[in-house]
């Protein structure tokens, strides 16, 4: 597990697309980056998992909660990220 932190200087937009949340049963992750945007410049990659927002654990947040939390960070956004690969889910046969 390769975890790291980025601190983005505001204001928004931060230049990334957030995907997932507890209500989707999918961990929060970065699904898209605006080329040259603040997130891209800080070294964030597509596929990174979001572990914490502004120092608080993001694990139990619904999508809207995470969205609001990020929106609430006006001047500075601090994200804890990770680059590991959790299991995939594809249509499977139960043998």
């Amino acid at each position: 597990m390769d975890s790291f932190k980025v601190v983005l200087e505001g204001p928004a937009p931060w230049g990334f697309r957030l995907q997932g949340g507890k209500d989707f049963n999918v961990p929060l992750s970065i699904s898209r980056l605006t080329p040259g945007g603040k997130a891209a410049q800080a070294g964030v990659s597509v596929g990174d998992w979001v572990l914490s927002i502004d120092g608080e654990n993001a694990g139990g947040l619904t999508h809207i909660e995470a969205q609001n939390k990020i929106r609430a960070c006006g001047e500075r956004l601090s994200l804890g990220l990770s680059r590991a690969q959790p299991p995939q889910s594809k249509p499977q046969k139960l043998h």
Partner: protein
């Protein structure tokens, strides 16, 4: 004359000829028909007022009230929603001209080519010019075209009217003048959208004035469209003014298309929410089913792993029966549940993919792999259990058989040995004669051989006891006790026999010696003789006792014969059972195999429609369900076989377990295959369209493809959209253009047209589309209010939204504002930040 204000550029180009022709046309128009001017005045005034009243003002006289430019600018602001530059507040002519120019500049900035309209004419109150200018404004903002050239917008509007009035046989709209004279066209338009407002069947072609007035009355009262026409004028003019009619009809278009749009937006939102709620439900159901199944597995495995042996055959038989029950009654529904779970999972993932949502990840411990793992453990425990059951039963059977054998042998032996010790302890030889002792010896010899014959039996008894110990017989202690007693007694008998022999031989010897002396004492032997006789009689009695024993043995033999007979009958019955089972199993096994092959073949075939494939699979499913009786019958025979303790069957290679597993696999396979085809159909339908729809699209496209080269230009496309009721704003149209003409080539191909139409009509939604739908309901505001939601959506959906939408905190926020954009993107689990 065309006046150009120095320093102000109008973005237009025109030919001198064109300009002249325009003037001539207008002059000719006016000369030909002053009625038109009258109609236009009335209609345009009404139209302007319908907008100006929102700003709290009106005009009375169309060529007078716009002369200073102020109300003109106000009109433009109201209908466009944008602000114009501040008007000059002076009363001088140049102030007025400046203001009118501001208005004209604004119109030009909207891409309108202003031909021969100048600020001075307006300020001077030139009726012709003023009407022309107002018409330009109406065209641009009400009928939404980007040039003064009316063709495409007009055609679009006309086509829309034709479409909407097509079902009304007495209405035939071919133009914007004579076709409307009988008033039925207007009434039909109203009835088509709001049948509750008008009773069309009661209308009469011969009362045109009444019809027109009725339509205008209803439009004013219920549709917020002020009366803009004069019914008598229209009816009495041979050819009514086209522009007036177009203006009025365009108001209808806006009213209805707008309502349709709101309805479409609300429908789309409801659909999206319904999809979401359905997906949530499926996810919850998956979690619930997964929990239940896992729990059942956790409960069942310990039962299958319990290997405590029972004492009796009955108890084990009961266990076997319980296991059979489990396999026949309790497990099959669970197999089905597991299959259903898998199917649900796959269907859910497909639906999520189709509706553009992120994939479903079950919670910890309920993943597909967890369930597969648990199921595997269950089946392993099962297999071990059945083996163990059968082994145990065999063991118990043997053990009980042996124990019985032991008892019988032991009893027989004990009976035989009863009293022998006593006899052997007899000192009957002590007072016997020589002859008697010799006789006793002979008897003893006989006894000794009898004893020797019984040696085998005792050894057998001991051997059986030993085996019972090895087989872990539960009552081994008692067996051992008894065996021990028998063996001890045997030893004693052996010892006693030996002693008696010795004693008898000694006595014989002694008596021989005495006999010698007997002669000498013969005379004195008489009393001894008497005693001897008595003793001999006693001995003879014992012979009789032995014979009876023989008789008893003979009586036992027939009984044993009978049990042999019974055993033979039982073996025959078992053989019959075996054959019966085999005959069925040998038919069922191959049948299952052939069905599996059929199903496999059916899924390999790709030719033919999915529906055909589905029908075939359903047919197979039907056959399989009907075949279940055979499986049940086989189970019945299997039960009989097990109860009869038959564990082998050389007439068939199939065991009941083979058949069971094969059957379950067959059921699972057919369900799985059907589900695969269903999934394919889902995906196809999500992207597909019906043949009728395709025909309609083709017809529209061809109509607007003027050059017949398979391409529409932007204006054509816009007219086409208008004719389909897409009442578009600038921004929306621009967005759509980037979708259908992404390379900016200025043309729309049929393919991209179809793509666009299917996207709009298909079930796929994106967050943007949902946001656009909400925006319509929110009348273009960036937030929406609770009462707007309650007004436009069904109550439970409105409640759902109100509960979940976060508060809007952007610019222009008011208390109670809800952020529909954040909500919509959260539906798809994606937000841009």
């Amino acid at each position: 004359m065309n006046q150009i204000e120095p320093g102000v550029q109008y973005n237009y180009v025109y030919e001198d000829d064109e300009y002249m022709i325009q003037e001539e046309e207008w002059d000719r128009d006016l000369l030909l028909d002053p009625a038109w001017e009258k109609q236009q005045r009335k209609t345009f005034t009404a139209w302007c007022n319908s907008h100006l009243r929102k700003a709290g003002t009106q005009i009375e006289n169309i060529e007078e009230d716009f002369r200073n430019g102020l109300k003109l600018m106000l009109l433009l602001e109201v209908i466009s929603g944008e602000r114009l530059p501040k008007p000059d507040r002076g009363k001088m002519r140049f102030h007025k001209i400046a203001n009118v120019n501001k208005a004209l500049d604004y119109i030009a900035s909207k891409g309108v080519k202003l031909v021969s309209i100048g600020a001075e004419e307006i300020v001077d109150g030139n009726v012709k010019m003023t009407l022309g200018m107002i018409w330009t404004i109406i065209l641009r903002f009400a009928i939404q075209d980007i040039s003064v050239e009316e063709t495409s917008a007009k055609e679009g509007l006309l086509l829309w009217c034709q479409r909407k009035t097509a079902p009304y046989r007495n209405v035939n709209i071919q133009n914007f003048h004579t076709s409307w004279k009988d008033g039925l066209g207007l009434c039909a338009l109203i009835h088509r959208h709001r049948p509750d407002l008008i009773d069309y069947s009661k209308l009469n072609k011969d009362d045109p004035i009444g019809n027109i007035n009725l339509a205008m009355e209803i439009a004013e009262k219920h549709l917020d469209i002020p009366k803009m026409l004069d019914a008598e004028d229209i009816v009495n003019t041979p050819k009514p003014d086209e522009r007036a009619i177009m203006t009025y009809v365009s108001c209808f278009y806006h009213a209805f298309a707008g309502a349709e749009q709101a309805e479409t937006a609300a429908n789309r939102i409801c659909k999206v929410l319904a999809v979401n709620q359905e997906n949530e439900r499926l996810m919850e159901e998956y979690e619930r089913l997964a929990s239940e199944l896992l729990e059942w597995i956790q409960r069942t495995i310990p039962w299958l792993e319990n290997r405590t042996p029972e004492k009796t055959m009955q108890a084990m038989q009961k266990k076997l029966e319980d296991f059979r029950d489990y396999r026949r009654k309790h497990k099959p529904p669970k197999v089905q549940e597991k299959c259903q779970l898998e199917i649900n999972f796959n269907t859910l993932q497909t639906k999520l993919r189709i509706s553009n949502r992120p994939a479903f990840m079950p919670s910890e411990g309920k993943m597909v792999s967890d369930i597969a793992g648990a199921w595997q453990r269950l089946e392993q425990a099962e297999k071990g259990y059945e083996e163990w059951l059968l082994n145990e039963i065999r063991r118990l059977e043997r053990v009980e058989h042996l124990a019985e054998k032991f008892r019988q042998k032991a009893s027989t032996h004990e009976t035989w040995a009863y009293g022998k010790e006593q006899i052997l302890l007899q000192k009957d030889y002590e007072s016997a004669s020589l002859t008697e002792v010799r006789a006793l010896l002979r008897k003893h010899e006989a006894f000794e051989s009898d004893l020797a014959a019984h040696q085998d039996r005792v050894e057998q008894i001991a051997a059986i006891a030993q085996e019972l110990n090895e087989l872990d017989y539960h009552d081994a202690v008692n067996i051992n006790d008894r065996c021990q007693k028998i063996c001890d007694q045997w030893d004693r008998l052996g010892t006693l026999t030996q002693k008696r022999r010795e004693a008898l031989e000694r006595t014989e010897k002694l008596l021989e010696t005495i006999d010698q002396l007997h002669l000498e004492f013969a005379k004195r032997a008489a009393p001894f003789n008497n005693w001897m006789e008595g003793a001999m009689e006693d001995l003879q009695d014992m012979f009789i006792v032995h014979s009876i024993e023989e008789i008893q043995v003979k009586q036992l033999v027939p009984v044993r014969d009978q049990s042999l007979q019974e055993e033979l009958a039982r073996q025959h019955a078992n053989e019959r059972l075996r054959r019966q089972f085999a005959a069925q199993a040998n038919a069922i096994g191959p049948w299952i195999q052939s069905k599996m092959e059929e199903i496999a073949r059916s899924s390999i075939q790709i030719t033919g429609a999915l529906e055909d494939q589905m029908n075939q699979l359903k047919q197979y499913e039907h056959n399989i369900i009907n075949y279940k009786n055979n499986i049940d019958k086989l189970e019945g025979d299997h039960q009989l076989i097990q109860e009869a303790l038959v564990f082998d069957n050389k007439h068939t290679n199939y065991t009941m377990e083979h058949i069971r597993v094969g059957w379950e696999l067959l059921l699972t396979t057919i369900a799985r295959t059907i589900n695969e085809v269903e999934t394919q159909m889902l995906m196809r339908d999500a992207k597909g369209i019906t043949q009728e729809q395709m025909n309609e699209f083709r017809a529209s496209f061809n109509h607007f493809d003027r050059r017949k080269n398979g391409l529409m230009d932007h204006e054509d496309f816009r007219a086409c959209l208008i004719s389909m009721g897409y009442d578009l704003g600038e921004a929306e149209f621009a967005r759509i253009m980037t979708l259908v003409d992404p390379n900016g080539q200025g043309t729309v191909t049929f393919q991209s047209f179809i793509d666009f139409m299917t996207r709009e009509t298909a079930d796929t939604d994106t967050a943007e589309q949902v946001i656009a739908s909400f925006r319509i309901l929110a009348s273009d505001k960036p937030y929406i209010l609770a009462e707007e939601l309650r007004r436009e959506l069904p109550p439970d959906q409105a409640q759902y939204c109100i509960k979940r939408m976060p508060a809007y905190s952007g610019p222009g926020s008011v208390p109670g504002a809800l952020d529909y954009a954040a909500f919509s993107s959260a539906l798809y689990g994606e937000s841009d930040l």
